[in-house]
Every structure is written in C-alpha cells, then in structure tokens.
C-alpha cells in the first residue's frame, strides 16, 4: 500500500468513526444504559442476585415514574453482568460495559473485583457507585469516578476491634481471613483496633473464599485458647466455620463482619449459629428510614432480602439523582454533581466525602438469639 492510499484509508476511518460516535451521544436515542455488576454465578451468587434485584427495583420505579433529562423522555435500561467475584473477570466485564456505552455503573459487589474494575471506569470517565465494596483501597486510589454508599472497612473494622475488646471483654483474639481484598482488609483493621484497645492477637490464620474445611486452622487456634475468633469473609465460609468450632468444643465467641451477618448464615449453621456475633455497616433494615417500605416492595417481587439490596437500590437512586441535577445523562456532566449528593435514601442520608466514601456511616452490631439476628447496638464511626 502506498502512502497515498494509506492516507485516504485513515481519512475514511476517521469519518466513519466520527459518524458512529455522534448519534449515540446526542441523537434521538432516548435509551440510557446503566451497568450492574455482581457475582451471578459461583458461591456468592445469592448475594450477587440480591444486588441486581435492588438495582432493578430502583430502575423499574424510575422508569415507571418517567424520567426527563435535557427536555427528553429517557428510558433506563439495565445491563447486568456477572463478574463471578473474580478480579480478572471483573475487568473483562467492566470493559464490556464501557464498550456497550453505559453511562454509569452500580457495582461491583466484592472489593476484590471492584478495585481493578474501578481503574477501567476511571479511564473512561464512567461514574461507579459500589453498594457493598468496603475495602479502603477502593476509594484510596484517588479516582474521580469511584463512589460507595457503604461504610468502609477502616470504619467498620475499628468499631469491630474496639467492640471485641471493650464490650465483649476479649483479651486473646484469633483472626482468620479469606485472603480476598474484603476479608483481609477488614481483618487488618480489626487487628489494628483490637491491639490499640489493649487486646492480644494470639493467632492469625488464613483460608480461601472457596473452602469449607477449617478444622486444621481451628485446631491450631484452639491450642492458643483465644476468647474470641474473628473471621473476615462471607457467610458460605462463616457458617461451616461456626459449626466446626462447636465440633471441636471451642468456647471462644465468633465475631464476623457484614459478609457473615446474613439470614443465610443462620440457615446454614442452624442451631450452632446461636450466640454468633457480626456487624453490618449502616442501620438494621427495621431501623432504616425507608426499611419497612423497601422490604415490602422488594419481597413482593424478588423474595427474601439477602444483604446489600437496599444499598444497591439507593446507589441507583443516587446516580439518577445526580443526573437529574445535571439535567443530563452525559457522564462528563453529571459526574460533577455526584460529590454534591445529599440524598435521603432507604438506608439513610447519603453524602460523600472528598474520596467518595459515605460520611458518618453507622455500624450496627448483631447477635444470633433464638435463631434470629438481634440488634445489639449501633455505633457511629468516627470517619
């Protein structure tokens, strides 16, 4: 090919690219794509589906009420993707959503997949609100597009570590994490806070988010006679872990984070769950300003709430709220409105700090009594 023809090809390509771009952004197309990512397959699929349903509920409501941006009727359309809680898959589906032209993303569920995906959204200037990623690193990378409506691990871990030592009176603490960004991050914060409060960390053990056998590490922990075992991870691991603690005759209390504070944990661990303690960022569903109304709406359509769906629902509303104020679904325009968010959602009042974290997030502690999670107390994190 000569230089001459090559030049024409480049010009033609530029023209085609230019033509393709315009109508998508400013044309008469009134369909706006919103991305949602969570694990829809694999061990955490039940939590992933819960998030998807939360987003879908909000989206359907907004569509039913009718949304007008920039003088045009807008229909929202959900593009839900499965990241299988896997960081590699997360980046692939994030790129796919960007290529499909979503204007905002609710997700992902896990910190481990939210963090690598946030780089892709940031590079393409697509705002992202995670309903459930709690790892500190997510908003610490300084991306302008990264937001979350969930109390982060530093806030939650500090409350948990303090609570274990001062309220539960645990002197010797064993800590286990599942080596995910979430589990490890939370466990690290708990370790820091417990030490600061005067507790002693006698064991630090590790497992994975696919394991169900913890007999070996629990036996090793039992030898060190802790007063309390903290686990940073999700309910599919927490439930068998609690059962195996009982099986080994361990007297230590069990304390978990929000990944363990689910109805599924009680269902899976049965009678052994009795007395288990766990925290969840935010308020209990009954104490949320819009909790009971949300519960009624959600359960009529999708069945039992697993955990994060109220946050997914709020995240969706926060995103649309910013679009309404900007009067545009153009990410470049409404992204500037996100930091000014002051939205009264189901989960409470949502405002963001400079990093994109929710300000003044509450952490609530629960204990299983008579086969149910009972609220112990709510602590305002000192952000």
């Amino acid at each position: 090919m000569t230089g001459h023809t090559l030049g024409w090809v480049v010009v033609a390509a530029a023209l085609v690219a230019g033509c393709g771009d315009k109508p998508q952004q400013n044309g008469d197309n009134d369909v706006v794509l919103i991305g949602q990512v969570s694990p829809l397959t694999g061990p955490q699929a039940h939590l992933g589906k819960d998030n998807e349903n939360g987003v879908r509920l909000a989206l359907d409501e907004i569509n039913a009420a009718g949304l007008t941006l920039g003088g045009k009727k807008v229909m929202l359309e959900l593009k839900s993707e499965d990241d299988a809680a896997d960081p590699k898959t997360a980046t692939t589906v994030a790129q796919k959503l960007v290529d499909e032209g979503v204007v905002g993303v609710i997700g992902h569920l896990n910190s481990g997949s939210t963090i690598p995906a946030s780089k892709i959204y940031s590079d393409n200037a697509i705002p992202q609100i995670s309903p459930s990623a709690t790892a500190v690193a997510y908003t610490a990378s300084g991306f302008q597009t990264a937001y979350r409506v969930m109390t982060n691990d530093a806030q939650q871990g500090t409350v948990l570590g303090n609570f274990a030592v001062t309220k539960l009176g645990a002197k010797k603490i064993a800590i286990i994490d599942d080596r995910t960004a979430y589990g490890q991050g939370l466990a690290d914060e708990v370790e820091k806070a417990a030490k600061a409060a005067g507790g002693e960390v006698v064991a630090r053990e590790y497992t994975s988010d696919r394991s169900t056998d913890f007999m070996a590490i629990l036996t090793s922990i039992k030898g060190k006679a802790p007063d309390l075992v903290f686990f940073g991870g999700m309910d599919p691991q927490a439930a068998p872990m609690i059962k195996q603690m009982k099986q080994l005759g361990m007297q230590a209390k069990f304390l978990g984070g929000d990944g363990a504070q689910t109805p599924k944990l009680i269902e899976l661990a049965g009678a052994d769950a009795e007395g288990a303690l766990a925290s969840n960022p935010g308020l209990p569903l009954d104490a949320m300003p819009g909790g009971s109304a949300f519960k009624a709406k959600f359960e009529a359509k999708y069945g039992k709430i697993q955990n994060y769906s109220p946050y997914a629902y709020d995240a969706m509303h926060v995103l649309i709220d910013a679009m309404k104020r900007a009067d545009s679904s153009d990410p470049a325009k409404y992204l500037a409105e996100l930091p000014k968010t002051d939205y009264q959602g189901v989960t409470g009042r949502i405002r963001f700090d400079a990093k994109g974290d929710i300000t003044g997030g509450a952490v609530t502690l629960y204990q299983v009594k008579d086969g149910k999670w009972q609220t112990l107390e709510t602590v305002q994190s000192g952000n």
């Binding site: 829809l40 397959t41 694999g42 061990p43 699929a45 039940h46 589906k49 080596r179 064991a203 630090r204 053990e205 590790y206 497992t207 994975s208 696919r210 169900t212 056998d213 007999m215 070996a216 590490i217 036996t219 090793s220 039992k222 030898g223 309910d235 599919p236 439930a239 068998p240 059962k243 099986q247 080994l248 005759g249 599924k264 269902e267 899976l268 661990a269 049965g270 009678a271």
Partner: protein, 309 residues
C-alpha cells in the same frame, strides 16, 4: 499432643472423603486412560439429590429418626448417580472411545460444566443447608474431640473401600475389570463384554461419589452446585499422588493428601514463625504432589503396566 491427635483425626476424615472420590477417577483411568473430570460433579449431584430427598422427608414425616432419613437420602442418591454415570459414559465417552485422547478429555470438562449448570437450574445458586437430623454427639479422646459424623464417615469409608477391593479381587466382574485394564482388545477376544465392564466401572465409581457427596454435605452442613469442582480437583490430585489407575494408590493418596493439608495448615504458620501462614496449605499439598511426581512419575503405588484396575 492433643492438638497433634486432633489434626490427625481432621486429616483422616478429610482424607477418607478424598479417597472415596479419588477411587472413581482412578478406576476410570485404569480402564480407559480417561480422566473423567465430570466425576466431581457427580459427587455434587449425590449431595444435592440426597438433600432434596432429606428435605422432602423432613417436611412430610418430621418424627422420623435422623439416620433413617439419611439412609433414604442415600438410597435415592446412589441409584440416581449410578444412572447418571451410566448415561454420561454412554452419551459422552463411548462415541469418542477411538477418538484422539484429547477429545474425551475435553468432553469430560464439558460434561462437568453441563452438570454444574443443570444443578444450578434445579436447585438454584443458593447454598442449601443440611438439616440438623443427625445426632450431634461429640466424644473426647485424650483431649481431642471427634464427632459422631466424623466416626460415621471413617467407618463407612473403610467399609466401602474394603468391599471395593473384594469386588475387584474376588468376583467375575472384578476379574473382567482387571483384564480390560490390561488390554481391552485381548480381554474382548477372551469373551469379556468390554462395554459392559466399562459401564460397570462408571456405575461403581458414581455410587462411591454419591456416598462421598452425602458425607461432605452432612459433615460441613451445606451443599452447593459448585462444591464438586474443588473436591474433584483435590481427589484427582490424590489419585495422581497415589498413582492413578491403582486402587490402593487412590486410597493412600486420598488419606495422605488429607493429612498433608491438615498438618500443613495447622503447623506451617507456627513452624515458620508466621513467615508462611495457613494460606500456604494448598501450596504445601501441591508441592508434595510435585515432589512425588518428580521422583516417582507414576505416583506412589503406580506401576507402569500390570494390575491397574
């Protein structure tokens, strides 16, 4: 000492489950030189089917004793898995018996994915709890504790393995299996119905998998459509460790892998002063596997040709 004993018990229980599943891999490999990657999923199917039966029974007749309910679960799960094994062999592997070796291997992976997704469609993505129907007794021996479930797993696994050895060594079917393993052509020339022997191998292996699946879900208190993957991978490693194709090897490999994992996870952190933590449990297990394969490429008990089944 009590911790050592406890880890020994943990390892033996885990290992006997691995061994039961590993037997299914090794029997099929011994006869067909095929790695049946769908075997882990048959284990999962066993767990799911038995749980469905147990759940239905617990609702229909709440007064029934737990052991009886579990027995009913097993009595349905075993034939279902046997039929499934038979079906898979007939549909997915037999048409490819003379194809290049890679083809059935890929089919096996495909079957495994299909089974996972079927289970996901039937039972959903949720973890399914194992109802608390079994006696939760716990016994203290020299400071270590062993539960009724653990004892039942150990006893049942030993009984099944002994029966299997008897079948392979003493019965006509067993002799036909050994003959087929040595040479399919010669065995068929001697009047052995090779197709029937291969089908029987799948059926027996699937029955063992069903039992192992029920054991695992009763022991950990849950079942999930994805549970067969990791279990299958570990059991396959156990079979390779012991020498794939060798029955005794699968049992030894399973027990060893269970013990290595248990002691590895329990002691590695303390022995290295926290430098390597219990997250190196699997690394440790696979390191042992690699070391064995370097020095004995055919596994611990693997012989090159003779007596493979």
């Amino acid at each position: 000492m009590d911790i050592f004993l406890q880890q020994l018990i943990n390892g033996l229980v885990l290992g006997s489950v691995y061994a039961l599943v590993a037997l299914g891999y090794t029997m099929v490999y011994g006869i067909l030189e095929l790695i049946n990657f769908a075997h882990g999923e048959i284990t999962m199917m066993g767990a799911m089917v038995s749980l469905a039966v147990i759940g239905a029974l617990a609702l229909a007749a709440p007064g029934l004793p737990g052991v009886l309910v579990l027995g009913a679960g097993l009595a349905v799960a075993i034939p279902v898995c046997m039929a499934l094994g038979l079906l898979i062999e007939r549909v997915a592997y037999r048409p490819l018996r003379h194809a290049p070796r890679l083809a059935p291997l890929i089919t096996a992976i495909g079957v495994s994915i299909i089974l996972q997704n079927i289970a996901m469609l039937i039972w959903g993505k949720q973890y399914i709890p194992f109802p608390a129907i079994l006696p939760q007794g716990r016994h203290e021996i020299l400071g270590a504790s062993i539960s009724d479930t653990q004892i039942a797993i150990l006893v049942l696994a030993v009984l099944i393995m002994m029966t299997l050895i008897l079948v392979v060594q003493k019965t006509r079917l067993g002799r036909a299996m050994r003959a087929t393993a040595q040479s399919r052509q010669v065995a068929s020339l001697m009047g052995v119905d090779v197709n029937r022997v291969i089908a029987s191998t799948f059926v027996i292996g699937s029955a063992l998998a069903a039992v192992a699946g029920v054991m695992v879900s009763a022991y950990y208190g849950l079942a999930h459509y994805y549970m067969g993957f990791l279990l299958g991978l570990k059991a396959f490693s156990a079979a390779v460790l012991g020498g794939i194709g060798n029955l005794g090897g699968a049992m030894l490999g399973g027990l060893l892998l269970g013990l290595i994992e248990s002691f590895g996870a329990g002691y590695i952190g303390d022995l290295t002063g926290g430098f390597l933590g219990s997250h190196y449990q699997d690394v440790f297990a696979f390191f042992v596997l690699i070391a064995v394969l370097v020095f004995r490429p055919s596994g611990l008990l693997g012989a090159r040709v003779v007596e493979r089944a």
